[in-house]
Symmetry: C2
Subunit: 375 residues, 2 copies
């Protein structure tokens, strides 16, 4: 068989369960889904996952390695997701820790359409980390959101995105909001000489996304926010291939997939998979904010967004989730330069939004990121 | 404010955490996502979730009730999912136990296009539970899958579906498989006088689903399998509104959303939400099979698929996940009649597939379901 798709699992077995047997069931569940003895040997040889190793770990669980034939994925993203985490998502004590991606499979995906270099070009920033803020809160009018966007742009923030909860509510409907915010950001760019990028929230009903993408194209909006777990990760892939805008992926609704005992490793989902599915930047809550993730989690995702992955471009890690602007000078050196600092609430708390934005931009510009590429 | 969208949570707080404060943060996280003090009072009044109750539970956790304004959902499914389980999916110790659905919100969704009555009409079965089997395994040729489908149809199985791992692999590509299986099932229906329904697996790349739906329409295929967590639940909603086929929803990849300590209650996800999103039948692993779910879990889902939910039609619960045909006579009376019994592996183990299918069909036809509608 050609190079297989190799998955490394952490498997926790119950009392009286046999790890080798659980591993064999796992390989079967994710492929043939049929009991032993009913599948002709030549079909098992071509399609069944093959258990390559079952070894005890120090934590009492087992490390299981299973090799799957690439053809079982059909080289399509939904079936790849199914192979990785389909039926097994309904079982207990299984975590996918890492994937070895065969080149043959990666070649079926284009990954980020812009990637780090492309997004840097859109923002006009060569080397340093980028700055970003979210337009919020839900409930404001489109005019007021646009005013805030202009202030942030005049303050020199690189990227202004819709909050991910801004959909098509009557308070600030999608079309009106995008028209007004885009207009104000463009005006601020002309006045202030900046090149702030606006990313509206494209997360919405699948049968309305086409017309929304057309509006972006018409206006010349070059980036958008999507929440892959809300619209489907394969729709993000499709948008990356065809929308013409850089995609910033938001983790809303995806947190349940990355449990400590059951799920996918965060760096596998938010690193490998979302990059493969076309995210140019992936938002994740930084350690020390409103969410219980650690610095190690964040660094692991950063590494997977940057590491070699076939011919796919690297993507930015966008760190948010309640970062205080006052803490940025300490945080920036702890990550590499291909990082976007997403600060919102603490800017608003400062009162003068333009000034708060300018100070934040200055801090990030003046603070050296961790040397070289993240590793 | 009009009738709100009311969510009942189970909240587990850490040592030193205050439950009232966590609840207030939760309401804020899912709406304004901005710290106290920066949002004008009139915006908080219109958009912020309102904590209605925080009460200790016997298990040491807290029952929290939060009322959200319907307008915050924008009456769109992705934003509704975001409100229910967006950012909070990245936190710890939160479980959404139940939702009170305001009529105003339900009116924005059509739900099942066929529902229980429509799917019964397609199968020509008035009152009893239905029987189903999955074509498998992955790796077989389309011809062999079609031969098996014919055997099951001749045996009198009501519904024959693709296994959810059958995508567009070269072993049995989508188009070839659908053509051959449909042809064989139709032929078996003519020969045997039955009306077996074939449901191919439509789960696939979002930009190829349109052409696949067209193929179904061209052939007169009236049902399809989709895995909402693999293609996006909103795509299922769109297919329910426009595809013209009855939709059977598979839970692959969705298991992580229904954790015992963190997530959505299974009956909320697989009951309310998937029904609202257009599933005519929802597959869930029966108790006692290969998966660790209980009879109570299954019954709770059954109830939510049948309970009044605005003007939405009820949907079938399809029980699978390793049911042994030999156990059916004992299981059938434990559920209501609007149940579909999905048995595959144990039929194949019997060798003579047509005979095994006929015996299964006879058992289900002869065994009274729990009296009346599930309650």
């Amino acid at each position: 068989m050609s190079t297989p798709l190799r998955l490394r699992y952490r498997l926790r077995v119950g009392a009286g369960e046999n790890a080798e047997r659980r591993a064999a069931h796992l390989a079967r569940e994710q492929t043939l889904e049929a009991p032993e003895g009913v599948v002709p040997p030549e079909i098992e040889a071509r399609a069944l996952g093959r258990v390559e190793g079952v070894a005890p770990r120090a934590d009492g669980a087992f490390e299981v390695t299973i090799a799957y034939p690439v053809e079982a994925t059909g080289r399509e993203l939904p079936q790849l997701l199914n192979l990785l985490w389909g039926n097994v998502s309904l079982q207990a004590g299984v975590r996918v820790e890492a994937v070895e991606w065969p080149a043959e499979l990666l070649a079926a995906f284009r990954g980020p359409a812009f990637g780090v270099d492309g997004l840097r070009r859109l923002c006009g920033v060569e080397r340093r980390p980028l700055t970003a803020t979210a337009l919020k809160p839900l409930g404001l009018s489109a005019r007021e959101l646009a005013r805030r966007a202009a202030e942030c742009a005049l303050g020199g923030i690189d990227l202004v995105k819709d909050d991910h909860g801004l959909a098509d509510q009557s308070w600030a409907p999608f079309r009106e909001r995008v028209l007004l915010v885009h207009d104000q950001v463009e005006r601020a760019n002309r006045v202030g000489g900046g090149s702030t990028l606006y990313a509206p929230n494209l997360t919405g009903p699948v049968d309305r996304i086409g017309e929304r993408v057309e509006l972006l194209a018409e206006l010349g909006v070059r980036a958008a926010l999507v929440a892959p777990a809300l619209i489907g990760v394969d729709l993000m892939r499709s948008l990356a291939e065809s929308s013409g805008v850089a995609l910033i992926a938001h983790p809303a609704f995806a947190g349940s997939l990355v449990g400590a005992e059951q799920g996918l490793a965060p760096e596998l989902l938010f690193g490998d998979l979302w990059r493969l599915a076309g995210a140019d930047a992936v938002i994740f809550p930084n350690a020390g904010g409103r969410f219980p993730w650690t610095y190690d989690d964040c660094r692991a995702i950063e590494r997977r967004l940057a590491a070699p992955l076939g011919e796919l471009d690297p993507a930015f890690l966008m760190l948010g989730g309640g970062i205080d602007a006052a803490g940025l000078a300490a945080w920036v050196p702890r990550y590499g330069p291909d990082t976007i600092w997403l600060v919102s609430g603490s800017l608003y708390l400062r009162g003068d939004l333009r000034r708060a934005a300018a100070e934040m931009a200055a801090v990030v510009a003046a603070t050296p990121a961790r040397f070289g590429s993240p590793a």
